[in-house]
């Protein structure tokens, strides 16, 4: 009895002492180490872009391994060729087999190599599109239909080894062409062709394709897959054959860009660059590899960052305020803040009376003191926003968008709102009274009577639960309070996300709600969120906003393939939306990030949506040690 106890105790004590005494394993200098919070689920591009299109999969694989014909040059997000040698040729109408198509010729760089040192040719490019079209992008699901849009793309033809022709069914807008098809992933034909062939023979080709687990797949991106220890880490290594290594991208003041590759001699420039050079970015990768540690919670990630086990915390939501405060005092750690491309907003069900009255919505918008909540209540965690295009998206943002009620005091706001409501025919049982001098509400409004003479029934304003999003929760509670001050019987109802989501998209049975969107750089969301063809169940216009004038303008915007014209139209759309208020845009939060500045150097840290949006700049970061 005693003996084995002694043995056990000895063993345990030995282990404990050893565990404390023996140091951990030192990091190798060449690895760029990041933390992620969820397991990547697949390294198969098709599922990672299809049904498993999680941000984590994108961080560790999709954004690292693959290249495309064109891309957006960071940090200014300017449309530039990547694997393509130059901009695509103008779209031309062409008759093929009795049908009229639009076509465009794209030339491909000759210096691009796959990681197995074979050249990336027109065969690969054509395959990348045609194979997916054959599979049916809708069946692949996820982002595939927006990348290889079967509504637009008919076929990609190889003209010669380094030239392809895109055959399009219809004239595409910017969203479908420059920001869609042309930025599709390029695949290695010799690797994937047999996989597709095998999948095709299976009973369920899509399932078969998804089930494929790539190994030794040749890639053309900066990194390639090295190791995946499920639940612990993913390791990528630098692609030795990466063609763009050493390539210098120069940004000029006038918005033009030049790309130069000193190794292969490739050169490209947009327009005639003049003026000051804003920034020069040299492409890497400079690290031997990247390591993604999978951590269970934020605190662990922050402790690891301070402890030096991690160089950057990858999280699409950024870091919380509390961490920022504490990290800014840590040695060797730098925190950065960036604007986010998105917004949180409030919406009414415009199918219902009196929510369809514009003045009613305007009155609500005026009543909301975004600045007060953001600055006072939320201490600058959030910043107020008025337009559906965030100011950070500087190319598309219209600085003249009206900002209802901005800068007014509490009572001035009430005064304005009451005026608007009266204008629309609302009356009160007890009209709110204010004292402008003292900025005080002397009597709260009660019993709002609608223009049709009926007393307005109280309605639910669905907001997020405090656990899900304390910011929207706080905002929502305050909004309901202000509405009640003028007698609008709005009840804030904390509701869980799934229920809100169901109410909006499955049943459209709701009065008002507080939601949020995150956006892409190209502001085509204005079309999707407000076009009347999206008002059906499951559509993206659940509030039921319907305005033929807007629809027309939005359609024109979508069809426009000229950047400048599109921009003008976008400005007009923004103004219209700020007046009609199908969404009452409220606020958004800056994205806070932190990195080990004693180990890393980024070419830039100011970029819309933060470094995470671009995979933490794995290909341009420099390691200092």
């Amino acid at each position: 009895m005693k003996s084995w106890k002694g043995l056990l105790a000895t063993l345990i004590i030995t282990i404990l002492i050893a565990a404390v005494a023996v140091p951990g394993f030192a990091g190798s200098g060449g690895l760029y180490e990041m933390s992620i919070f969820e397991n990547p689920t697949t390294f198969n591009l098709f599922s990672a872009t299809g049904p498993q299109s999680t941000v984590w999969n994108d961080f560790v694989s999709s954004s690292q391994y693959y290249t495309s014909l064109y891309g957006l040059a960071q940090p200014y997000l300017i449309f530039v060729p990547s694997v393509a040698a130059d901009v695509p040729s103008e779209l031309k109408q062409e008759k093929i087999g009795g049908k009229t198509y639009y076509t465009s010729i794209v030339k491909i760089r000759k210096d691009v190599k796959w990681s197995n040192n074979t050249s990336l040719t027109a065969d690969d490019v054509a395959f990348s599109y045609n194979a997916i079209l054959d599979m049916d992008p809708n069946k692949l699901g996820g982002n595939w239909p927006s990348i290889v849009d079967p509504e637009v793309l008919e076929r990609v033809e190889k003209i010669d080894n380094y030239t392809v022709k895109f055959i399009l069914k219809d004239k595409p807008g910017l969203a479908q062409w420059q920001y869609g098809v042309l930025q599709g992933y390029l695949l290695n034909k010799s690797y994937w062709e047999p996989v597709f062939a095998k999948a095709k023979k299976a009973a369920d080709p899509v399932k078969e394709l998804f089930a494929h687990e790539p190994s030794g797949e040749p890639v053309a991106g900066p990194y390639m897959h090295a190791k995946w220890e499920k639940g612990a880490f993913v390791q990528n290594v630098a692609n030795p054959a990466y063609a763009m290594k050493g390539e210098v991208t120069t940004f000029y003041e006038d918005g033009n860009v030049t790309i130069e590759n000193p190794k292969t001699g490739f050169k490209w420039q947009s327009g005639k660059p003049t003026g000051k050079v804003l920034l020069k970015v040299t492409e890497g990768p400079n690290a031997e590899g990247t390591l993604y540690r999978i951590l269970g919670n934020q605190a662990a990630a922050v402790m690891s960052l301070i402890g030096g086990q991690v160089d950057f915390i990858l999280n699409s939501l950024g870091l919380q305020r509390g961490f920022q405060e504490q990290l800014s005092q840590a040695q060797g750690v730098t925190t950065i803040e960036n604007n986010v491309n998105g917004f949180r907003f409030m919406m009414f069900n415009l199918r219902k009376y009196p929510f369809n009255i514009k003045e009613f919505r305007q009155a609500i918008s005026i009543l909301i003191d975004r600045e007060y909540i953001c600055e006072k209540v939320l201490q600058g965690i959030a910043f107020p926003q008025y337009s559906v295009v965030p100011p950070g998206n500087s190319f598309w943002y219209n600085p003249d968008t009206p900002q209802l009620g901005k800068g007014l005091t509490r009572t001035q706001k009430i005064e304005e709102a009451v005026k608007l409501l009266k204008k629309a025919g609302f009356t009160w049982e007890v009209e709110p009274q204010i004292d402008l001098e003292k900025d005080k509400v002397t009597k709260r409004g009660k019993g709002l009577i609608m223009p049709d003479g009926k007393k307005m029934p109280s309605f639910d304003f669905m907001i997020m639960t405090a656990g899900y999003d304390p910011l929207r929760y706080t905002f929502g509670l305050n909004i309901a309070q202000w509405a009640k001050d003028v007698g609008i019987p709005m009840e804030a109802a904390p509701t869980e996300f799934n229920v809100i989501s169901d109410a909006l998209f499955e049943t459209q049975d709701f009065d008002a709600g507080l939601m949020g969107w995150s956006l892409t750089a190209y502001p085509d969301h204005m079309r999707w969120f407000f076009h009347s063809d999206q008002t059906g169940l499951g559509g993206f216009n659940p509030q039921g906003y319907s305005n033929p004038e807007f629809d027309k303008l939005a359609d024109e915007f979508m069809a426009e393939s000229d950047m400048d014209k599109a921009r003008e139209q976008a400005f007009k759309l923004q103004e219209m939306l700020a007046d009609e208020l199908p969404y009452i845009v409220l606020f958004d939060t800056p994205l806070i990030e932190a990195y080990r500045s004693d180990r890393l150097e980024y070419p830039y840290t100011q970029i819309l949506s933060g470094l995470q949006r671009y995979g933490a700049l794995t290909s341009t970061v420099k390691l200092l040690k």
Binding site: Q298, A299, V302, M303, L319, Q320, R321, G322, F323, Q324, E325, Q326, K376, V377, L378, Q379, I381, T465, A466, G467, Y468, P470, T474, L477, N478, Q481, P494, T495, E496, F497, N498, V499
Partner: protein, 320 residues
């Protein structure tokens, strides 16, 4: 004083007093006796003292918010103090500091106390009522009823409690009342039924039950007036443990952000966590320590009372 004493001395058979009065007296006497035993348990007394302290603390909430505290500033949910940066450390105006969105921690703590009592006691009460009813019914009637409820209990016992609630909570954010009810019901049909049934079974074979049956007492009457009173002490004991588990579950679920509750101790910690302050424990101690300690002490208090009661209910644990 004199009026209270019956003037005529008669035997119990004449029933000068209504039966309920006699029962009440007996109950009171047994309560007093049990209290004497309970008092012996220092752990149980510690628990009682803690619960009373929490009770006073919680009762101060309505007083404070209606007198001393300005609701604009001290409202636990929408309050905000514009005078300082948040989270602010403890100060004269905010004795326990403020949370990251400027709400007073002490106010939150106080406000939540009452809610935690409600949650704990409500769910425990549901558990015990169901457990006692089902347990005694199963023991008394046996047969199909017994089998049915025991199988249900077996199945409920298979559910991993917290994970299941987290799973459900992740999909439907439970609010306060449904959560209390679910906790109560799951608890009631689960393990406690088995324990209470065993107790009821040991009672229902005692001779006086047979006597009551022979005397023509209805089943309902026998259950209510003979079996249940004997099961109740044990039910009461398990009620204490149910309170503990309800509060702890609530806190854990709140921490994971899967409950729809505006304020509770768990939410306080959750708020600190999602705002990124649950990391440097020494610096922002007021964001986690008061709520964390409250959860622990509150649960421990009920648990200790349960332990104390155990010595009342289970004579084998008593000191001689």
């Amino acid at each position: 004083m004199n009026e209270l004493v019956p003037t005529h001395e008669t035997g119990p058979a004449s029933l000068a007093e209504p039966i309920w009065k006699i029962r009440w007296k007996l109950t009171r006497r047994s309560l007093r006796q049990n209290w004497e035993i309970f008092k012996e348990s220092r752990i149980g007394m510690l628990g009682i003292i803690l619960i009373i302290a929490f009770g006073i603390f919680g009762a101060m909430w309505p007083i404070m918010i209606n007198t001393v505290w300005d609701p604009m500033v001290y409202d636990p949910v929408v309050g905000f103090d514009p005078m300082m940066m948040h989270p602010s450390p403890p100060s004269g105006t905010h004795l326990l500091g403020t949370d990251p969105i400027g709400r007073d921690i002490l106010a939150q703590l106080m406000h939540s106390t009452g809610r935690e009592f409600l949650l704990g006691v409500l769910s425990a009460l549901i558990t015990v009522v169901i457990g006692t009813a089902v347990g005694t019914a199963a023991a008394y009637y046996g047969g199909l009823i017994d089998t049915f409820f025991m199988r249900i209990a077996d199945i409920i016992l298979l559910f991993p409690f917290i994970p299941l609630l987290v799973v459900v909570g992740a999909m439907v954010k439970l609010s306060f009342l449904p959560f209390a009810i679910i906790m109560g019901v799951l608890g009631g049909f689960g393990g406690i039924t088995i324990i209470l049934k065993a107790q009821a079974l040991s009672v229902s074979v005692r001779p006086y039950i047979d006597a009551a049956r022979v005397a023509g007492g209805s089943n309902f009457h026998i259950i209510v007036s003979h079996i249940i009173p004997n099961v109740l002490p044990l039910s009461f004991l398990y009620m204490m443990f149910s309170v503990t588990s309800a509060i702890l579950s609530e806190a854990t679920l709140s921490f994971f952000g899967v409950l729809n509750i505006d304020m509770s101790w768990g939410m306080m910690i959750h708020t600190a966590d999602v705002a990124g302050y649950l990391f440097d424990f020494a610096r922002y101690w007021w964001l986690w320590a008061p709520a964390g300690l409250a959860i622990t002490l509150f649960c421990a208090a009920f648990y200790m009372v349960g332990r104390g009661l155990d010595e009342v209910v289970n004579p084998r644990l008593r000191k001689r």
